[in-house]
């Protein structure tokens, strides 16, 4: 069995990559992908702990989280699509109409 530490290490790396991307990227699509990474790192943790426990609660939560991520991605990409139609770009730095 894979030790728990490795799973947590993996999830930490994935989380850090996602966070880094979120802090540095401007492109809307990339941001969405980073958010997916964050969610999936959490999923890895859930599954790892669930296997370590052992019971099925964590995996149920992981499924729940994946469904949530799918819904979030659907809404997010729909918004980005309409932003693109409106501004012709998805570089979020250029989309600041509601800023002070």
């Amino acid at each position: 069995m894979i030790p728990l530490e490795l799973s947590i290490l993996l999830s930490s790396i994935v989380f850090t990559v996602g966070l880094y991307g979120l802090m540095t990227q401007r492109n809307g699509i990339k941001l969405m992908m980073c958010i997916e990474l964050l969610l999936n790192s959490a999923n890895i943790n859930l599954v790892a702990f669930s296997a370590y426990q052992p019971n099925m609660d964590g995996q149920v939560f992981a499924l729940f989280s994946i469904a949530l991520a799918a819904a979030e991605a659907g809404v997010g990409f729909a918004i980005l699509l309409s932003l693109y139609r409106l501004y012709g770009t998805i570089d979020l730095d250029n989309i600041n109409a509601l800023r002070w």
Binding site: L19, L22, M23, T24, R26, L31, L92, D93, N96, L98, R99, W100
Partner: protein, 687 residues
């Protein structure tokens, strides 16, 4: 039976108000007949109540709780009853007259609505059983007078006059309210245990506990209430609004001057007479203000050329007589109330008559200026005849109503003079002389001689003449018919209450006369005797004492004092005749155009200069500017500064919202890190 419907006395005119204001536009004559009928109904109910309480010599008192320690109630005692009858009667006639006078005016519906409300407020004021309710109706009267004086509100002078009336009486009203609060405070401090149905500000309760209140406080309260009365009744120095109130329709002037407004102040002092009596020095102030006003206004009446202004000054002067009469109660006791109220009622008959006559003349001639009238007698026989009766009564011609009432006030002023000070008596005699002169100056200038301008020569319609004739009959005969019984009836007013005038006299520092005027004293003396015996004794003593005192009075005063009112009335009429009828003299023969006294009288003692130009525009306006500055700089300044700071802070704070996602995420991560560190540290320390 009628007593159960006493509320209708107010309810009917209010109903007329509602009907006229909503539906008057669609009704003939602006719904005027509704108001007339409603007032007439109130008169009938009053008569019904009179037929029930006068034979039993009882009073009618109904009351229901309102909130807290206050109640709403109806109190019809002799004082209120005579006022109710007078107001409903005179106002019914005035409204009837107004049917003709206001016919064709586009605002007739508004007029009759407001007149109905005016009547209702005055009637409510009269039979209120507590001071707070009285004050509410008092304010309503003020409101209605404002509306009616400014009836022709498109005319700037009418709007200004309405504002002046409202603001001037407001000065008095504030004092009145202060007096009520003070009185309430003092009553509450007595910690009375009140029986069910008794409330702190009810008149019977006030009367019963006057003796327990600190006399200095009583004087304060009395002077505050007097302030209200001075404002409402147009006494010096708050009389300035009354002559200007002539801007309204003449029927409004008649209502204000005769029945529904200025009498309220006199009525208030009469209603609170036990309080004034118990308060040291309060009645001295009343008598001095009254006598001074009587003379002061009479001199101004001499020089005015506007027919309604002359009558207005005469009202101020006659109200001064009433106040002086009440003030003389310091010596004569409750009798003074009867005398003053008798003059009030007689005055309302002949003053309503004079105003309606003046209205009739103005209706025909189309001007208020007496210099453009003259010789109207030939064309308006009824008007001139009724006005002659009114003038005779006002001048105090023997055997008219005005003669009896004014004579009696002068007599009690003389009694006051013997005991205290002759100044009020001298003032009143001079004022009475001037009254006769200016009244007949008015009559001669208007009705005799040759026409001095080209006016319409036609008599008024019957609907206007009818009320004139009825009022003329009362102005002529009411005094001779009602005098004696009236004094007895109204003089007994405070015997219905638990109030001992002898004790109050002791507090107020008055000497109560034995018998007669001091009927309450007789009761006080006999009160110690066994119950039934005592009552009979007191009643007998009252009866006999009254007659004895009356006789003593006849003998007690020098012949000249009794005959003097007749002499001055006839003399005044004669002097007016010399100047304006036979034209033996003319005013310019005794005073030149440049004569300072003549100038002063013409300018009305420079009241306009003092009140408006100096007091209002310099002092008050200066204060107003000062406070306006404080308002703008300090009050508004603080608020503006606070809001400026808030806006500036927000303006700076929103810079945080950069709109750059990376910044948000960074802040988020930093926040989480800080949170984790804090929680970790907290766990380390073990919180």
């Amino acid at each position: 039976m009628f007593s159960d419907y006493a509320f209708l006395i107010v309810a009917l005119p209010v109903l007329a108000f509602v009907l006229c204001i909503f539906f008057g536009w669609h009704l003939p004559r602006g719904g005027g007949p509704i108001t007339v009928l409603a007032t007439f109904g109130a008169l009938l109910v009053s008569l019904g109540i009179a037929s029930e309480i006068v034979p039993n010599n009882s009073i009618l008192h109904q009351s229901i709780p309102w909130f807290g320690v206050f109640n709403v109630g109806i109190l019809v005692d002799p004082l209120a009853l005579v006022m109710l009858l007078m107001v409903t009667f005179v106002v019914t006639l005035i409204h009837t007259y107004a049917l003709g006078y206001m016919n064709g005016d586009p605002g007739a519906a508004r007029y009759f609505a407001e007149a109905g409300l005016f009547t209702a407020s005055m009637l409510g004021l009269i039979y209120s059983d507590n001071l707070l309710q009285l004050f509410i109706f008092w304010e309503l009267v003020g409101l209605c007078s404002y509306l009616l004086i400014g009836f022709w509100y498109r005319k700037p002078s009418a709007a200004a006059a309405a504002k002046k009336a409202f603001l001037t009486t407001r000065v008095g009203d504030v004092l009145f309210l202060t007096g009520i609060v003070l009185l309430y405070n003092n009553m509450a401090n007595l910690n009375l245990t009140l029986a069910p149905g008794e409330y702190l500000l009810q008149f019977p309760v006030i009367y019963a506990h006057l003796a327990q209140i600190d006399p200095t406080q009583l004087t304060f309260i009395a002077l505050c209430l007097l302030g209200g009365a001075v404002g409402k009744s147009g006494q010096f120095p708050l009389h300035v609004w009354l002559p200007d109130a002539m801007e309204g329709p003449t029927t409004v002037s008649a209502m204000i001057h005769a029945a529904t407004m200025v009498t309220a102040g006199v009525y208030l002092v009469a209603r609170m007479f036990p309080l004034f009596y118990a308060a040291p020095n309060a009645l001295t102030v009343v008598v001095l203000i009254g006598a001074f006003t009587a003379l002061f206004a009479a001199t101004m009446g001499l020089t005015a050329f506007d027919i309604k202004r002359v009558l207005a000054f005469s009202t101020v002067s006659q109200l001064g007589f009433m106040m002086a009469g009440l003030g003389a109660g310091a010596v004569t006791g409750v009798f003074a109330v009867a005398v003053a109220i008798f003059h009030l009622i007689g005055h309302s008959f002949f003053k309503a008559l004079l105003f309606l006559d003046a209205g009739s003349v103005i209706h025909a001639v189309g001007t208020n200026d007496m210099r453009e009238m003259g010789g109207i007698r030939k064309y308006m026989k009824w008007t001139s005849a009724t006005m002659l009766i009114g003038s005779l009564s006002l001048a105090g011609f023997p055997l008219t109503t005005g003669f009896f009432s004014k004579d009696e006030i002068i007599v009690i002023a003389y009694e006051y003079g013997i005991k205290a000070s002759m100044i009020p008596y001298i003032f009143l005699v001079l004022a009475a002389t001037l009254t006769a002169i200016y009244t007949f100056r008015l009559w001669f200038l208007t009705f005799t001689g040759e026409p001095r301008s080209d006016y319409h020569k036609h008599e008024s319609p019957a609907v206007m003449l009818g009320p004139l004739v009825v009022l003329a009959i009362f102005a002529l005969l009411f005094g001779i018919a009602a005098q004696g019984s009236f004094y007895n009836y109204v003089g007994s007013n405070f015997e219905h209450y638990d109030v001992d005038m002898a004790v109050l006299a002791g507090i107020g520092g008055h000497e109560l006369e034995e018998g007669g005027h001091g009927a309450a004293a007789a009761e006080g003396e006999h009160g110690a005797v066994a119950a039934t015996e005592g009552e009979h004794g007191a009643a007998a003593a009252e009866g006999e004492g009254g007659e004895e005192a009356a006789e003593a009075e006849e003998e007690g005063e020098p012949f000249i004092i009794q005959i003097l009112p007749i002499i001055i009335a006839l003399g005044g009429i004669f002097v007016a005749g010399l100047f304006y009828y036979w034209k033996k003299f003319s005013p310019s023969m005794i005073t030149g155009e440049r004569d300072p006294i003549r100038q002063m009288l013409l300018k009305g003692y420079y009241q306009h200069e003092i009140y408006t130009a100096w007091f209002a525009e310099k002092i008050v306006y200066g204060i107003a500017i000062f406070f306006n500055m404080i308002d703008i700089k300090v009050v508004d300044g603080i608020l503006n500064k606070i809001s400026d700071w808030t806006v500036a802070f927000g303006g700076n704070l929103r810079k945080v919202q950069t709109g750059v996602i990376e910044n948000y995420v960074t802040a988020l991560v930093l926040g989480v890190v800080v949170l984790v560190v804090v929680v970790k540290l907290a766990m380390e320390v073990g919180i």
